[in-house]
Amino acid sequence: MTSAFAGLPGFVEEKEGHGETTVIVERERLLEAARQLRDAEGFNFLADVTSADYLGWGEKGVSGYWGNAGGRDTNSPGSWGFASVPEPKSRRFAVSYHLLALRSEPKRVRLQVWCEDGDPVPSVVPVWPTADWHEREVYDLMGIVFDGHPNLVRILMPEDWAGHPLRKDYPIGGEPVRFSDED
């Protein structure tokens, strides 16, 4: 079966899952692919831009492994591992663009690029202006840099915040508490 999106610039792979189509393209040619999707395929509506950090993906191992290296960890839910090891990921971060063809026969597709820490992803603001705040949010919370974004500054966290909270190596509750005894 040939993919309907195989003609996209930088096309890597098309996946089907749960009735949703995911099209993975090369990071460097994202902007060309986005233009073609909008102009030729009719995906005129960008619903959402989001990202996921796959650091430590599947490291828990399969069932039968009890607890962590330091001993049995009974307090942590789900420490018994997976039923099967999840499929490994090619790179650390995935950026997903949820596209919608807003017409009488609507169609949705998830455009996805993969990158390592520090790899710049081309900004799609020239194609869909709505990406402005979405990309700022991804930059702010996940630390992915969008090349060509007109105003890439933090949006939800304070301007002087250190780190990107949604990364898997960012601890929860790890921020310093002001006026606490530890000061």
Partner: protein, 435 residues
Amino acid sequence: MATTATSPSGTRSPFSTDLSSGRLLYEGSRIPQPIPTILLVPPELEETGDVLTVNFGPNHPSTHGVLRLVVSLDGETVVGLRAVIGYLHTGFEKNMEQKTYWKAITYPARMDYLNFQQNELCFVMAIEKLLGIEPPPKAVWMRTLLAELTRIHSHLVWLGTTGLELGAISIFWYAFRERDLVLDLFEMVTGVRMHTRYFQTGGLAEDIPLGFDAECRRFIDVMPKRVDEYEALFDNNVIFLERTRGVGLLSAEDAIALGQSGPMLRASGVNWDLRRNEPYLVYPELDFDVPVYPDGDVYARYKIHMDEIRQSSRIIRQCLDGMPEGPWILDDRKIVLPPRDELHTSMESLIHHFKLVTEGYRVPEGEVYVPIESARGELGCYLVSDGGPRPWRVHFRAPSLVALEATATCLQQSLIADLIAVAASLDPVMGDVDR
């Protein structure tokens, strides 16, 4: 009935069937360049030294919460605008990654605190999509009913606060009077007035209580009449009309380019509603209209909200009529808690209960994006699972965040007084924007 409502131009029914009925509101695009969400002061104006920059919010009674607008004014004209958000950022998405799925259901309701049931619904539907389970019919019908009650609740708060911001005090009391009736219904069903956490993976947390049908019918009998009363207050009010008609223009093309959804999109003449165009729950079986107005101004957004309350009442009546009998939650012991009384007699049930509460259920590996039509537009839940009992990544596509992206476009060449009307018409809920 709502079908008699006409747009201010008087020529078109709001319920057309073609996808786009947008009018030409202005030539070309008004989206600012190069930054689509910021209105920059023209340099030649900056040099005159007459531009005054005012900080509007984050704590201002008419900013709908903690929205901060940095406005540059030339006299009374807005020449520069920048929306600053993040004052209510709570890190819900990060927190949800640390919880098992059934504990995480409490979080989405606290994001958009006026639209709590629909946020919950969106997350639960995403989990169910990954699990590949279908809740029983009674649960699906009840979910539809509650989603529409939530829409009415959200629209009533919008109406009350918007009226208040435009100087109309009485509508606030009227709208909140009806809102209280909705909250009473929620309390009756779930025991809680807000943040109900009534949707459970696989169905509902409890059966529908006796007497709900009658109470709910009493409410939907009265609600459309109250909408007529609200409209009587506004539609003949010269001050309201002057402040809303032709204000905050947004064309259909700009609305799509800016990713607007829900009432914002329909007020710009785009006939798009996920309940009808990409149906979910029992919406395909229901008879309702989608209001569309072509004028793209604040008044059109107000009319959309009014018509939607009427349509929601219609949907709720059909849900009550069609409510099937039967179980309200799946009988799948690997996902759903066993009935409480079995715990005293069945060892199996006790083990299942213990495993579900301590470890939670495992959701198969995969990623899904589930969009639903919330009161504010397309609410999407992006959920990634690694096969464990906790979500690997949860993200919500917040319609309020996207609506605020349109502030700069809507406020091109407008007056400072319009700022209040426009910001209110975008219907931002800051909990949803900042998450």
